[in-house]
């Protein structure tokens, strides 16, 4: 399968790989996917007192498109407020990375990871959990 240049770029030079301290109250962690499905993403955000995402990190077990989707997501998250981050749609990722139809699930997983991380942050800070739309699988 031919990958787009952007997927290859993120795969070869992934942005924001790493781990944030999940025990901290201002860190939200989203772990989605399953090893037997061939994709696991862990996406983390660090949020300041103004609800701005100051840092984002990821680690992904998966194909090139899954790695690129999560790498791109961390780039987009930094500097956004939590509410702005909630508006990131998987189709934005599909468009940016030119993912083929068989790889759309990678973008869905990245969106799930963002929302799960935000929810983790909300719960830690006494906010009600958001109703997550059932993933599109």
């Amino acid at each position: 399968m031919a990958y787009s240049d952007k997927v290859i770029d993120h795969y070869s030079n992934p942005r924001n790989v790493g781990t944030l301290d999940k025990s901290k109250n201002n860190v939200g962690t989203g772990l989605v996917g399953a090893p037997e499905c061939g994709d696991v993403m862990r996406l983390q955000i660090e949020v300041d007192e103004n609800q701005v995402i100051t840092d984002a990190k990821f680690k992904t077990f998966g194909c090139g498109s899954a790695i690129a989707s999560s790498s791109l997501a961390t780039e987009w998250l930094k500097g956004k407020t939590v509410d702005e981050a909630l508006a990131i749609d998987n189709m934005d990722i599909v468009e940016e990375l030119a993912l083929p139809p068989v790889k759309i699930h990678c973008s869905v997983l990245a969106e799930d990871a963002i929302k799960t991380a935000i929810n983790d942050y909300r719960i830690k800070n006494g906010l009600p959990a958001l109703e997550l739309p059932k993933s599109h699988h």
Partner: protein, 404 residues
């Protein structure tokens, strides 16, 4: 001088040996006759070439030249053997025994037989990929007409106990068919000593051309017949109609001759390279060889690199042409059914690479492959949340994964 990418997918297909191409060339140009034309030298030349190829092949597998039925390849041979026996021996029974790790050309043909009202038993394999002979014996009924077990597996290279299986078949008066596509030309195959009644193989897995293969059909002790699956001019003793692919057959013959002549030296070299590749890659933590290493084809190594996903790994080793146990191109994300049959979990099956070496593989290429794979696995593990959890001592089985 190393040319990239390096081809290490020789279970899928092998390059054409230049000696084979040279033998074929005249039959693509001025010696173009139809081997069935009896009335002029063009036909005689072609027939002579086909007969010579039959002898070359017969010498490789120790049979009579008359027992070779030319086909378009191993898939057709598998179909002809199984469907042909099912039809020809319908009055004797309708039960076939095969194995879950067979090639799709056998498994899907058996599924077709089931639709026609036949009964098929699919034997499981153990963690090494080998069948249990006791289970085979227990599966036999008075309706069993055929046992179909592959010689060497295409994904993991495991060699089944062919002689023991054929002895069981013989004792019970059942025909024994083997898909030997990966074995013929690579390891000694002797239809007499191995007790084989029918055998499928292909030219392009042994440095011959694509589009040609053969079915060995025993003529004595017992005399075996298969019902033709294509109607036409009655070629190949009435078992396979269609104008013979003369250049292809000449190529298969030449490939067989070279295989016989070079097998010992080729095998020695290929095993040394395969073992070195494997030993080096196993220095990576949490990497495992899939299938038996004792009963295995010389050119194959299938390794799982835990906590790394197969398709991501394929992208990381883009300078190598290899196969992955992960078929992550469909929404279903189906891992290899062969690796699953060996008892591998889905994630370990997703994390596997299959290396297939050839007589043209060089030490320099193996060196490059070792470095390239090590680098890619290390890099992807740094990216892998599963690797991090493993390193922290977290048991991944205790995590409730969000199914998707």
């Amino acid at each position: 001088m190393l040319t990239l990418p390096i081809y290490l997918d020789n279970n899928a297909t092998t390059p054409l040996d230049p000696r084979v191409l040279e033998a074929m060339m005249p039959y693509m140009t001025n010696m173009f006759g139809n081997a069935a034309s009896r009335n002029h030298p063009f036909g005689w030349q072609a027939e002579e070439a086909v007969d010579y190829a039959r002898e070359q092949i017969a010498a490789l597998i120790n049979c009579s030249p008359k027992e070779i039925i030319f086909t378009s390849g191993a898939t057709e041979s598998d179909n002809l053997a199984i469907k042909g026996v099912f039809e020809m021996y319908a009055s004797k029974g309708n039960h076939i025994i095969t194995v879950t790790t067979e090639h799709k050309a056998v498994l899907d043909t058996c599924k077709h037989i089931e639709k026609l009202g036949g009964k098929v038993t699919y034997l499981p394999v153990n963690a090494e990929g080998l069948i249990d002979l006791k289970q085979l014996e227990e599966a036999i009924t008075d309706k069993t007409i055929l046992i179909s077990v592959m010689f060497g597996n295409n994904e993991v290279g495991v060699i089944q106990p062919i002689r023991e299986i054929s002895a069981i078949a013989k004792k019970n008066g059942i025909l024994f068919f083997t898909d030997a596509t990966q074995a013929v030309g690579k390891i000694p195959v002797d239809v007499e000593a191995d007790g084989i009644d029918l055998m499928a193989f292909s030219a392009h897995k042994m440095y011959g051309p694509k589009g040609v293969g053969a079915l060995y059909v025993r003529r004595k002790n017992p005399r075996v017949k298969v019902t033709a699956q294509m109607d036409g001019g009655g070629h190949e003793r009435g078992m396979r109609s269609g104008t013979l692919n003369v250049p292809g057959i000449v190529g298969l013959g030449k490939a067989a001759e070279i295989a016989k002549q070079d097998m010992e030296s080729d095998t020695k070299r290929i095993i040394a390279m395969r073992d070195r590749l494997e030993k080096e890659l196993l220095t990576l933590e949490e990497s495992y060889v899939n299938g038996s290493t004792e009963h295995r084809l010389p050119h194959v190594s299938n390794i799982s690199f835990k906590y790394v996903e197969g398709e991501g790994l394929m992208m990381g080793v883009k300078d190598l042409a290899v196969s992955s146990g992960s078929a992550c191109t469909s929404a279903s994300l189906e891992p290899s059914y062969v690796l699953k049959a060996l008892g591998l979990s889905d994630d370990l099956a997703h994390s596997s690479l299959r290396f297939g070496l050839s007589r043209f593989t060089t030490d320099e290429e193996v060196d490059y492959a070792i470095d390239h794979v090590k680098e890619a696995v290390t890099k992807l593990r740094e990216l892998s949340p599963l690797w991090e959890m493993f390193k922290e001592g977290i048991d991944l089985d205790t995590i409730e994964w969000a199914e998707h």
